[in-house]
Amino acid sequence: MNLLQVRDLETHFISRDIDNRVRIAHALNGITFDVEEGEILGIVGETGAGKSLTAQSVVGLLRPPARIVGGQVRFEGRDLLTMSEDDLNAIRGNDIAMVVQNPRTSLDPLSRIGDQLIRIRRAHSESSEAEARSRAVEMMTAVGIPDPELRLSAWPHELSGGMAQRVLIAMALMNEPKLLIADEPTTGLDVTVQAQILELLRDLVTRMNMGAIIITHDLGVVANFCDRMAVMFAGGIVETGTVGDVFENPAHPYTSNLVDATPERLKIGRKAVFGGAPPDLYNLPDGCHHRDRCRFAREECSTPPPLREVGLKHVARCHFAGELPETAQ
């Protein structure tokens, strides 16, 4: 069974404009994806596509004016969206753990690292202080922090960015989560440190048989560290499939552009034609949202495109998925 099932998730930004009229930004419109045990799903997309919002919607941490208006998020069969705050708290940090992109500011500045690790452990299980402490040492070792016992008494402001990210991963692992959500876990870290952290994450996921979501804007991260990927555009997922399939045979015009826009492909003379800015989330066009910037757009695209299967577990939301002419080359 799937660990996480997200179905038709819709999140809107509801605000009032200068004339007090209600304005709705369709930030997420019908997100559907699954995560299985032992696999890493990479969610890629550009700024404003809704990647982080998807993670925040899943764990119920939206800031107003963002609000979930529809859909389901099932974790081991239970719908997280209809759950009480207390029930949700029993799952967050326990079965579902988050790794965020700004580790240094995300730690409690007034508690020692060790106390924070222990606090998370004891918030979710009946373990004793001593047991939680030894678990903390174990996890600090697992994430490759030298002198873990010593580091337990360090303050967050004493850590470097890379070290803080490791601590955050250790915190995420304290309660043996079933699902790990990493939101841009390496943004702001150096290239060489990024590689260390991602290697570590992948290693841990395989070893502990967790499911994981890595949210990133870097196709390189997805290509090298994920099993499956979901491509987001304007608050929707336009394509999902195994990393190999999607890179090899992108079925959606947007995905195909993304892949062609990487320096590697540009180097060999590929050309990406994006055709303008993403649509205004306050005034999404009818039908396919990619229509206005798609070079293959036709009459049919004014109706909402179906999810078309183009391979085994490889789907794309496009009327012509898999039938696109290869004009790009």
Binding site: M98, T105, L107, L110, R119
Partner: protein
């Protein structure tokens, strides 16, 4: 960083400030339009009498020499003599310090005890009814003139209801004063076990303290709310929520992270409200340092004004040092700042 080094460094910063303040007050009074000689000599004085008085006050010497004399005297604890009370200014003020501190500490203390929880509650539910009411209360406190509030209180609680004594002094006219230990009637009567005096002192204290507390609570509410909201929306608290920590644990974390800035703010309030306290003393004829200072300014008693202003500066610096010290003790990042 060790405490000694911390302390020495702070002192190094304080000394030039003190010298500057002494110089500033000196210049202000000497160069300003006040003519103490004229005041002392009276309208019928002759030119010779003027010169004699001038020489007595050391005003016939050049300015820098006057400053040298003044600073030398200040260092010896000689702040000159008030010509209103014809007593040494230092003695005048030392007598009155506990009297004013009593009012100030009670007022700001109660203001903080009321203000901090209100600010926190408002922050935990922004834009709720409680938030709006507390915000209006806070704005109101910012806008109400201290002395007018005092007058209204006297009218309602003394004239109309007869619950409070008239706003003159710190203890009933018919009540004998307790033997002096701390200099405040409330404490001294308690020490002496004199319940009549205690009740009288307390009843005299209530109205002025309430006024100060109301005025003090307003900015405390506003800042506590702002600080708490900032903490609540910080990455750290959001991450704590994402980790499924129980609501109570998260709240405790918010409180701890808000503690230092709130404390610092209450400390600065303590020095800022010296002005408010002075006005309250003036209205209630409290007879403390504040009233003394205001009277000195109004009547052009310039040695007393100099002493008073110097005292205020010392008090502020002392409070800031204490805040710094407390922050140093409770804040792990203090050495970074």
């Amino acid at each position: 960083m060790t405490f000694t080094r911390f302390f020495l460094r702070r002192m190094m910063m304080v000394i030039p400030l003190l010298v500057g303040i002494v110089f500033g007050t000196f210049m202000l009074i000497r160069v300003g339009g006040l003519d103490p000689v004229g005041l002392l000599a009276g309208p019928t004085a002759t030119a010779e009498e003027f010169d004699i008085i001038r020489a007595e006050l050391g005003l016939d010497q050049p300015l820098w020499a006057q400053f040298g004399i003044y600073i030398g005297n200040v260092l010896q604890g000689d702040l000159g003599e008030s010509w209103l009370s014809t007593r040494p200014v230092l003695d005048d003020m030392l007598d009155r310090v506990p009297v004013t501190l009593e009012l100030l500490l009670w007022g700001v203390g109660i203001g903080a005890i009321i203000g901090i929880p209100i600010g926190l509650k408002a922050a935990f539910k922004p834009d709720g009814t409680f938030d709006h009411v507390s915000r209006f209360f806070s704005l109101f406190g910012f806008s109400i003139p201290t002395y007018w509030l005092g007058l209204m209180m006297l009218f309602v609680f003394f004239y109309l209801l007869r619950w409070a004594p008239p706003g003159i002094g710190r203890i009933g006219l018919m009540v004998s004063q307790p033997p002096e230990v701390t200099g405040t009637y409330l404490m001294d009567s308690l020490i002496a076990g004199d319940w009549t005096a205690f009740r009288s002192a307390l009843s005299h204290l209530i109205l002025p303290v309430t006024c100060i507390a109301v005025i003090a609570a307003a900015p405390i509410i506003k800042h506590t709310r702002a600080i708490a909201i900032e903490v609540i929306s910080s990455d750290a608290v959001r991450y704590a929520k994402a980790s499924g920590l129980p609501t109570l644990t998260v709240r405790r974390m918010v409180l701890r992270n808000a503690a230092t800035p709130v404390l610092t703010f209450v400390g600065t309030e303590l020095t800022g409200l010296v002005g408010t306290t002075s006005l309250i003393e003036y209205v209630f004829a409290w007879g403390g340092l504040g009233q003394y200072g205001l009277n000195a300014i109004i009547n052009g008693d310039f040695t007393a004004v100099q002493g008073y202003v110097l005292f205020l500066a010392l008090f502020s610096i002392f409070v800031f040092l204490i805040i710094d010290f407390v922050v140093f003790l409770i804040e792990p990042r203090a050495e970074l700042q």
